[in-house]
Subunit: 264 residues, 3 copies
C-alpha cells in the first residue's frame, strides 16, 4: 500500500487507500462536471457511473454546442469508440477549449487495434497532452509501439509527459517516475460493456478534484476495482453485476478500500 518508484528512485510511503477514499469524497463534495465525447454504446452507463460517484455528466457532441459544454466543465473524456465524422469534429473543438483552459482530459483509445484510422487519430491527439491515457494491452502497440509492459508504459509516459493507465487483470499506472500495479477488480468487469469507458469517465472526475494526475488515476482505478469486488459478492451474473458495481461505487468508503486494496 505504498507508492513504489522505479528501481533507482525512492518515494515516501503514502497510503493509497486513504488517497483513493479522499479523492472519492472530494468528488461527492464538489460534484465536478465531466463532459464526455464517447460512443453511443457507452453513454448511458457512463452517465450513471458518474452520477453514482457524485459527478455531473454531459454528453453532447453537436459541433455547434460542444464548445459551450466543455468550457463550463471541469474535465473532458475523449473516447474513440464509434468513430465518426461528427465525433472527430467535436473532439477537435473540445480540445481547443481544453488547451485554452488547461483543463484535465483523458484519452481512451477504444479499439484502435481494429482500426488504422482511429490509431492515427489517437497518435495525433497525444500532441494535446492528455492528463491520462487509459487503454487495454491490445491498444498499447498501435498507439505507442512496443509491448504493453510496465517498463514500456513508464518510458512512453515520460516521453509524452502523461500518465499511462494500462488496465487488465492487473492495472498499471505510471507517470514515468511513479509506478504502481493494482491487483484488484473482478473478471465480471470484463463482461459488462462500457465498463472501461465508464471507468475512464470516473478518472476524469478524479482529475477534476486532484491535480496530481497520477494520484487521481490510481484513486479512480482502485475505487472502481474495489467496487467491482464488492459487487461480485452479491451479483448472480454480469447483468446484476452491472447494477451492483454502480451501487457499490456510490457507497464506497475508506474502510472498504483499506481492507481490499492490493497495490505493489
Amino acid at each position: 500500500m505504498t507508492i513504489l518508484g522505479k528501481a533507482n528512485r525512492m518515494h515516501a510511503p503514502v497510503d493509497l487507500a486513504d488517497i483513493a477514499a479522499d479523492v472519492m469524497a472530494r468528488i461527492r463534495a464538489r460534484a465536478p462536471r465531466v463532459h464526455c465525447i464517447t460512443n453511443t454504446v457507452a453513454q448511458n452507463y457512463t452517465a450513471n457511473m458518474l452520477l453514482a460517484a457524485g459527478a455531473v455528466p454531459s454528453m453532447t457532441i453537436a459541433p455547434e454546442e460542444v464548445l459551450t459544454f466543455v468550457a463550463s466543465a471541469n474535465a473532458l473524456l475523449v473516447n474513440l469508440g464509434t468513430f465518426d465524422a461528427e465525433r472527430r469534429s467535436a473532439i477537435e473543438v473540445a480540445l481547443g477549449a481544453v488547451d485554452a483552459a488547461r483543463m484535465p482530459w483523458v484519452l481512451d483509445p477504444v479499439f484502435i487495434d481494429s482500426s488504422p484510422g482511429r490509431a492515427q487519430c489517437a497518435r495525433e491527439l497525444l500532441a494535446h497532452a492528455p492528463s491520462v491515457v487509459r487503454l487495454n494491452p491490445t491498444e498499447f502497440a498501435p498507439l505507442f509501439g512496443g509491448d504493453p509492459a510496465g517498463e514500456a508504459a513508464a518510458r512512453v509516459a515520460q516521453a509524452c509527459s502523461t500518465v499511462v493507465a494500462l488496465t487488465g487483470s492487473v492495472d498499471i499506472v505510471t507517470d514515468g517516475a511513479r509506478h504502481v500495479a493494482i491487483a484488484n477488480g473482478d473478471p465480471l468487469m470484463g463482461l459488462v460493456t462500457a465498463m472501461g469507458c465508464a471507468g475512464s469517465a470516473l478518472l476524469c472526475a478524479a482529475l477534476a478534484v486532484e491535480t496530481d494526475a497520477w494520484l487521481a488515476a490510481v484513486a479512480a482505478i482502485a475505487a472502481l476495482d474495489v467496487a467491482g469486488e464488492v459487487a461480485a459478492r452479491t451479483a448472480r451474473g454480469p447483468g446484476s453485476f452491472a447494477s451492483a458495481i454502480i451501487d457499490a461505487l456510490h457507497t464506497l468508503d475508506g474502510a472498504t478500500l483499506r481492507a481490499r486494496i492490493k497495490v505493489s
Copy 2:
C-alpha cells in the same frame, strides 16, 4: 389530496390518487404509441419505462421516416438533449404532423441553461403549443425568463396556453388556473441518468389517454414519484434503483398511490 386553485379561485376537491391510478390503468389497457425524439443517452431507459407502463415506444429520428412514425403515434416527446442537425430536422417534421393531427406533445428543454442554441430552439417550439412543458428549475429562466417559482410558472402557463411541470424535490404542475405541488419522489431519482427524460415520455403516454393535459401531467408525475418511493425501499444504490423503479411502475396500483401521494 385535493386540487388547489390559485388564491382567488376554488375548485371542487378531486382525488388525485384515484385519477393517477385510473390514468395508469388506461395506459395499460390502451397501449398508446409514443414517438420519442430524444437523446441517445436516454433512448433505452425511456423505451423501457414506456414498456413497463404499458405504452409502446418508437424512437427513430431519420428525417425520411419520422413523419410516418409520428403520424401513427398517439403522442410525441421532443427532448432537446443531444441537440444536433438531424434531431432539429426531425423535430420540425414531427411538429408538422402533430399540428395537423392535434396530437398531444411534450417539450423537455434539457440543458438549455448550458446552450444558447437549445434555449433559442425551445423558445421557438413554444409556438407549436406543447401540451406540457416539463423542465428543471435551472431550465426555467432561459425558456420563460423569471424565477422558477409557482407564481411565475402559473403566469407563463397561462400566457403560453400550456401546462408547466416544474420538477424538483417538490414538483409543481400548473395550467395557470389549476396548481398542484407534489411532494413525492426519492433523491435517488436524481442519480439515474435520463430519469427526467423518461418521465417526460411517461407524461406523453398519459396525455394519449387523458385529454385534460393538467390531469395527465399530475397523474404521470405522481405515479413516477410514488414508484420511486417504492423502489427506494429495496434499492441498494442508484444502480439497483434504476431497475427497481421500472419494476414498481409496472405494478403500481391505486392502493399504493392513495397511501403515499402527498399533494398540496
Copy 3:
C-alpha cells in the same frame, strides 16, 4: 424434443436441448466476434447479451471503418431500427465484406411495418442471402407478403434459401425443409426494449460456431427463451428481469435446457 419435418418429410430425432447446450458451450469456448449494425436504443443491451454469452461485440457504423471491423468479425447483424443514411451506407459496405468472406449474417427487419422505406430496403437485402431472417409477425407481410404462419414461413425460407425465425409467443424456425415451434419464453421478454434485437445478435454468435444455420437459430432462440423462464422466477418486474435474463444466459447449462425446452 425432436426435429419435425414438414408433413411429407421425415428427419431423425435429434435432441435439440443437447444441441442448444452444445452451441452455447462453443460460443463460450471460441468467443466469436459479432459485428452489429444496430440502432442506438439497442446497442448497449445487445453488447451486454453477447458478452454474457461469451461472444465479443463491436458496433461501429462509421463508413470509413465498418469494413475493417466486419472483415475481422465472425458474423454480422443487420438491424434496421433507427434507419438513417449513415446506417444504410454502413450496411452496404458491410454486406460487401460478408459476401466476399461468405460470413454468416442475420437480417432483423425492425419496424418495417411502420416504414415503407425500411420495408423496401429489407426486401433488397434478401438478395444478399441472409443466413437467418428473424422477425415478428407484424413484420412478415411487408417483407414476404402473406400471413405470418408456419406454412408461409417455410415457403419463403425455401424460396429465399434462408432460415426464417418468426418469433412471438411461440417461435417458428424453418429452412423450408426442417420446421420447429419453440414454446418457451416469458411475457416479460416483450416488456424489455431491444430483447428481440439482442436475440438476433445472439443468433449471430450461434451462426459463428455452427454452420447449420437452422440448428444455430433453434439453439440461440431456445437458449434465450429458457434463460427468460429462469429469469422470470426471480424478477420483480421488467426492470429486474432485463438484468436477470443476462445473468441466466451467462450460466445456462444443458440440464436446465433439457428440463425446460418445449419444441414440436
